[in-house]
């Protein structure tokens, strides 16, 4: 069993006091960057809670920090079993079925290590000047343009998009196509199955073509590295190669973009914290960690990718039989008072050592070190170059994409003082 540093004893987890399963998802939070009061109440009472999902199936909702770490790290909780025949498809799980997120070690490790080397801390530090210069270019355009500006369109989305395109070797002029496909697949309840299938085929077809082109003309990029692993090492199949490139391209867009958006919105509502950062930019790396811990980035009503118990487990004092679905709530765990004193306070000086915003264990976010560096450079640039940067509309007027797995802002109007 994995030791995850928990402090909670079995007596604190009164499943007996929870006679009926709670309906999940719970109501969304009125303040988008914050946790909903209903969720906070449930997490405080039952860090391992019985829930009923919209399709009527039962699951366990895990909200305690040490319990979530355990679910994410301990191999007794399987991702691959979520796709066993007869299992209900939960949330957006069907999109992950054939990705790294649908595999367990050691199958998972074979593919993961092919790309891990491209996303290490060292590689990301080497990439930092390029990211800083993309930040500067985007800010130049913002400064030259009208105020208010839309932070989503002019900064937070193009930044991670350009960076991942550069890493992978995708021509940046193809980005608009990707955002269209990405929104069809990951957002907007209005989409139909036909539209989603079309988007899926569109991406796969595009990737297959790009791979064919890179085979003829290799370049210094990640797609070429993966093609080489396929062709000279036979370490992944052609299908895996295509899916991999697609997954890498999609994974880093909305997440980083909306972490920028939501972090900025949270800072605007905590002016003393924002003032501290403006006064001392050396606090930015610590603040980025605190904001990763603090802001709630999961889309409203999103069901997190389930783990299935391989055997009977005892989690936070609760016995869970084999074969049950377990849902680790990372954003909620990062507000657990057992792990973070006064967890609902945003404190840019807190410097939380371990949070689970990037998950943990074998599926710890591949792009974590990239995202950290992008967020640091983004806030460095925004605060240094746009004096008095602030939201131009109240947070209550910000619209989110319905049904998106990430709390994805449609637009974030901002303004600033003369530079």
């Amino acid at each position: 069993m994995v030791q995850t540093g928990g402090t909670r004893g079995p007596e604190v987890c009164p499943v007996a006091s929870q006679p009926e399963a709670v309906k999940f998802p719970l109501p969304p939070s009125p303040v988008p960057y914050d946790t909903a009061p209903e969720m906070r109440a449930l997490a405080g009472k039952c860090p391992v809670a019985r829930v009923e999902l919209p399709d009527g199936s039962a699951a366990w909702l895990i909200t305690g920090f040490s319990e979530v770490r355990e679910v994410l790290i301990d191999q007794r909780y399987s991702r691959a079993l979520a796709y066993a025949p007869g299992r209900p498809r939960l949330g957006f799980d069907y999109l992950l079925a054939e990705s790294l997120m649908g595999m367990d070690p050691p199958e998972h490790s074979r593919l993961r290590k092919l790309v891990a080397a491209a996303f290490t801390e060292k590689r990301m530090q080497a990439l930092r000047p390029e990211v800083a210069s993309i930040v500067d270019d985007l800010l130049d355009d913002m400064i030259a343009g009208p105020r208010p500006a839309d932070l989503v369109r002019s900064f937070s989305l193009p930044l991670p998009s350009r960076v991942i395109c550069s890493l992978l070797g995708v021509p940046p002029e193809d980005l608009d196509k990707f955002h269209g496909w990405s929104n069809t697949l990951f957002g907007d309840w209005s989409r139909t199955i036909e539209e989603m299938t079309e988007a899926y085929l569109g991406i796969n077809g595009y990737m297959a073509e790009l791979i064919a082109r890179k085979r003829k003309e290799p370049a210094d990029d990640l797609i070429t590295v993966l093609i080489d692993a396929r062709d000279s090492g036979d370490r992944l199949s052609e299908d895996e190669l295509v899916r991999f490139c697609f997954g890498l391209l999609m994974a880093g867009h909305e997440t980083t973009a909306n972490q920028i958006n939501m972090s900025f919105a949270a800072l605007c509502h905590h002016p003393a914290e924002l003032a501290r950062l403006r006064a001392d930019p050396s606090l930015i790396p610590a603040a980025v960690e605190e904001l990763l811990r603090f802001v709630q980035i999961a889309g409203r009503g999103t069901i997190p990718p389930a783990r299935i118990t391989r055997e009977e487990v005892c989690l936070g004092g609760v016995t869970i039989p084999a074969g049950e679905a377990v849902l680790p709530m990372m954003n909620i765990a990062d507000r657990d008072p057992a792990a973070f004193p006064d967890p609902d306070r945003l404190d840019v000086l807190r410097a939380p050592k371990t949070h689970v915003a990037f998950g943990a264990g074998a599926h710890h976010c591949l792009g974590a070190q990239l995202a950290r560096m992008e967020l640091q450079e983004a806030f460095r640039g925004l605060l240094a170059r746009l004096p008095g940067l602030r939201m131009a509309v109240p947070l209550s007027e910000i619209e989110f994409r319905e049904g998106h797995v990430i709390a994805s802002m449609r637009a974030l109007p901002v303004t600033w003082d003369d530079t």
């Binding site: 790290i73 070690p105 290490t120 371990t354 264990g361 591949l366």
Partner: protein
Amino acid sequence: MSWRVRVDTGLCIGSGMCVGTAPDRFAFDADQHSRPVSEVTGEEEAVRDAAASCPVEAISLTDAETGAPVALD
């Protein structure tokens, strides 16, 4: 042949990548840093996978006799 496993706790960010990949060979200390369960192990693919997947390259694998680095791919 056997391998010597080291984790640089100064680099470790507690991602749990290694503990999740090779649970018999890595464990957390009280600070959520990873430590090898024993410094010398047999040649195990899971240990190599863990070292190759560490996001901060905190795990070093060397030949226990010669001290030569073990290839990670």
